[in-house]
Symmetry: C2
């Protein structure tokens, strides 16, 4: 299988990574996600990596790329379910996943996204008379 | 990886099948799901098979098993995202997935589960004096 399914859940997209992200798969995921955000107008992307036990700098870069790409389309990315060992490895590799939000599990990730969207909407409400 | 992650989303559990379900993986999934339903008190299980392009009688049986197992723990199972070719193959194999609910995508599957839970609750309210 050379595609990772992207599930739509209300205003969010959910991706569960269960296999090793080799080059083409990772690039496909980036393209698919950006297209889906554009098509659906999603406001957030949840990436579950609870099944990932090994992480390297490539994986870290892919997650950072996805977060940056979706952000320019007005969607925040939250990485959820990171195993403790993966967190240790990431930091030891010097990758702090800057620009990527993280949460313990999907539910908390979704709550985080809701807060982000909520605060954005308030901002828009407050300045409704301004052009954006 | 010999585990398929099970994500908790409110009263439901979500499983995305992305790899071929060989024997041990399928049995692990059954056990993990039943344990999770028991531990979390989940009322529904969503199994996304949108990444599955090949299905055989073993896969059909596993889905049927999961549905039966979760039902005795008071949780309904909905299989979502089935590809048209998979639906054709299943019926040609003579597997009609009896006892398994299906829906087009996760959102519709969740709506279906909400209805089921809702109608169950009403039933319990209406016939509170009956044993079920």
């Amino acid at each position: 299988m050379d595609k990772i399914p992207i599930l739509r859940m209300g205003p969010f997209l959910l991706v569960t990574i269960q296999v090793d992200l080799y080059d083409r798969l990772a690039l496909n995921l980036e393209t698919d996600l950006v297209n889906m955000v554009h098509k659906t107008g999603a406001r957030g992307v949840l990436i579950d990596i609870s099944a990932v036990s090994i992480v390297d700098s490539f994986m870290g870069r892919i997650l950072g790329n996805i977060a940056s790409m979706t952000r320019v389309l007005d969607a925040e990315t939250v990485v959820v379910g990171m195993q403790p060992a993966v967190a240790i490895t990431l930091i030891e590799l010097g990758l702090s996943l800057s620009g990527v939000y993280t949460a313990l599990d999907v539910e908390r990730g979704m709550a985080l996204l809701q807060t982000k969207i909520g605060s954005d909407d308030e901002l828009i409400d407050d300045d409704a008379d301004h052009t954006e």
